[in-house]
């Protein structure tokens, strides 16, 4: 169990973290998700003891670790660019954390060797023990960095943009592999990412951060299906954000009823493209004109213009498109399956 209590951190007059609190349960894999500058890496480095917070506390397993140096925290840290020791072989890199232990805590050489062997097999690099980091591919380096962090049997594994420097295919394979590895080992893990797809696919729980604050904490489906703030809506996936007016409990955009609002006023409605349904023209439903139809593999993206000029993006399947015989300039009716309205300006 990791508890972060009201942690703040400034760099000069820039607030990297602003009274952030967070609780991570044992055995969970958590993603810190946010744009660059949101404070996610700073939070990770504070968990590792690589930065000291200006105020607030960090508790690891119920014990206050705020002032504890990084050496004494028993955390595994996988750096964004791996930080492999370039003059050491793969095996030497992995053994480093065990070899620098002192006195009785230091395992014997045979034991270290056996452990390195096990870890190499675990990260599927069995044959590469003697290679140097410069002779490895990005994905291989990533796995060496992970094995090196795991060798010290950390109680917490921290990963800074673990897949950031890899190309698309390697990235996909590695993140599934990391997920499986985590399930097998039962470690508590925290990783930083700016890629929402990565966070949603790999993590048990996602912490969305923005400007040094936490916007929302939840499971991937909670975060995606019920974003708590406009920022989360915009940051996770594609979304239509249209100005709307709420009056008498009903919100309207260009004659289109988009849902109910409890507070009257001007605001912004958020609708995911796949929640915009395109129907054949019907007098009972609001109308729109199709402006653009783009086929993207199995999906079709269409832009519909409401009578007041508001543009809504819709996503539909090839089947639906063919059934409607969707073309540019076609008049259709729209139906919004789901929308969320945030009242207020400047959203």
């Amino acid at each position: 169990m990791i508890e972060v209590e009201a942690v703040s951190k400034h760099f000069g007059d820039f607030a990297a973290l602003d009274r952030v609190s967070l609780c991570i349960d044992q055995g969970k894999l958590v993603a810190l998700l946010g744009p660059s500058g949101s404070g996610k890496t700073t939070l990770l480095r504070i968990l590792a003891g690589l930065e000291q917070p200006d105020s607030g506390r960090v508790r690891l397993g119920g014990v206050d670790a705020t002032g504890l140096g990084t050496r004494d925290r028993r955390v595994g840290f996988v750096f964004q660019h791996y930080a492999l020791f370039r003059h050491m072989s793969v095996a030497e890199n992995i053994a480093f954390g065990l070899k620098v232990r002192k006195g009785p805590q230091r395992p014997g050489n045979a034991e270290i060797e056996a452990k390195v062997h096990t870890l190499l097999n675990l990260v599927q690099l069995g044959g590469l023990a003697g290679r140097y980091p410069s002779q490895l591919s990005g994905g291989q380096r990533q796995r060496v960095a992970l094995a090196r962090a795991l060798a010290v049997e950390p109680r917490l594994l921290l990963l800074d943009e673990p897949f950031g420097a890899l190309d698309a295919q390697v990235r996909k394979d590695l993140r599934r592999w990391l997920r499986r590895l985590h399930d097998e080992m039962g470690l508590t893990g925290v990783f930083v990412t700016h890629d929402q797809e990565e966070a949603l696919e790999v993590a048990d729980e996602v912490v969305v951060m923005n400007k040094g604050r936490i916007e929302q904490i939840g499971t991937p489906s909670e975060i995606y299906d019920s974003p708590a703030t406009p920022f989360v809506y915009r940051f996770l996936g594609n979304v239509n954000a249209v100005p709307c007016a709420v009056s008498g409990g009903s919100a309207q955009v260009g004659g289109l009823h988009i849902g109910g609002g409890s507070v009257d006023g001007v605001g912004t409605a958020f609708v995911r493209p796949h929640d915009v349904e395109i129907l054949e023209l019907s007098p009972d439903l609001p109308q729109a004109v199709i402006r653009l139809v783009t086929v993207m593999g199995p999906l079709v993206r269409a832009e519909a213009v409401l009578p007041d000029g508001t543009v809504l993006e819709a996503e539909l399947t090839r089947d639906q498109k063919d059934k409607l015989d969707l073309r540019r300039g076609q008049e259709v009716s729209l139906f919004l399956r789901k929308a969320k309205i945030f009242v207020g300006t400047g959203i």
Binding site: F11, A16, G37, L50, E51, Q52, G69
Partner: protein
């Protein structure tokens, strides 16, 4: 603002690294720097500050001092100019053309860095003395090198050469060939391309190399004194005059000449730095 500002601020934050050893490392650095460099230089400034107005006037009004300073700075300037031209040529040939032994010759360019100045001095003298390998053939042409101001310049060219080559070389390597191809496609001939496209790109490094060669030659002593002949008022350089004054226990005179040399050198280097800064700011790079 947040996106762009974070990396910048990270770098400028004040000492909060978890890496240990900052205080002892910086402490020792400052201690050793003060002991070996700053304190002795302060002694020079202190001595110079204690020199009276009248003493300054007497020392700097001495025609021997003036001509020594003139030779050190004038000779260094001429040598740096020669080096700017030939250093650029050498860098160009080494970077752009291939010929047998190019790598060895490239390595040899650093010889003046590695060869002790006294060795360079006697070797150049042996070459340019009236009975030397080169002097023997130059003498009948009426060209006296050794024991004249010309000899001083020759020695200064020798010790300044690597500075220009080594600062221009990497920049020349990085000049985008596409720029030259673009110039050619727009109808420029090779000479136009060189003067209008390549030279502006390498000019800052050429200026840096020039000023480094100049600074080095101004203070040069070992390689110059053998070939110079050291005739007061004619071929006597300022560093030698400092030593002469010291040997006569004229500490005030030695200090004054040294202070003037340092002041001019630093002003020149500062001016070049400011010029480069202004240039960079104007080019927006």
């Amino acid at each position: 603002m947040t996106t762009a500002a974070l990396p910048l601020l990270r770098r400028t934050r004040v000492a909060s690294s978890v890496i240990p050893g900052f205080a002892p490392a910086l402490g020792f650095t400052l201690f050793y720097l003060s002991l070996v460099v700053l304190l002795p230089l302060a002694a020079l400034l202190l001595k110079a500050a204690g020199t009276t107005f009248e003493q300054w006037g007497r020392i700097l009004g001495d025609s021997r001092v003036l001509s020594a300073l003139g030779l050190s700075f004038g000779g260094a300037f001429a040598a740096a100019l020669i080096n700017a031209v030939f250093g650029l040529l050498v860098a160009w040939v080494l970077v752009r053309y291939s010929f047998p032994g190019r790598k060895i010759i490239d390595a040899l360019v650093d010889l003046p860095f590695a060869l002790p100045t006294a060795v360079a001095g006697i070797a150049l003298t042996a070459l340019y003395a009236p009975n030397g390998w080169l002097g023997r053939h130059l003498e009948p042409l009426g060209l006296k090198v050794a024991f004249t101001p010309l000899g001083v310049v020759v020695a200064m060219v020798f010790i300044g050469l690597p500075f220009v080559v080594r600062t221009v070389e990497p920049v020349l390597q990085d000049v985008d060939l596409e720029l030259e191809e673009a110039a050619a496609s727009l109808g420029a001939d090779r000479l136009q391309t060189f003067f209008r496209v390549i030279l502006p790109a390498i000019a800052p490094s050429l200026l840096t190399g020039f000023s480094l060669a100049l600074a080095r030659a101004v203070g040069e002593y070992g390689s110059v004194i053998f070939i110079a002949g050291n005739l007061p008022g004619v071929s006597e350089i300022a560093p030698l005059l400092i030593i002469t004054k010291l040997e006569q226990y004229d500490y005030v005179g030695a200090t004054a000449i040294a202070a003037v040399m340092l002041a001019i050198s630093f002003t020149l280097l500062l001016a070049v730095n400011l010029l480069q800064k202004w240039r960079r700011a104007r080019m927006g790079a």
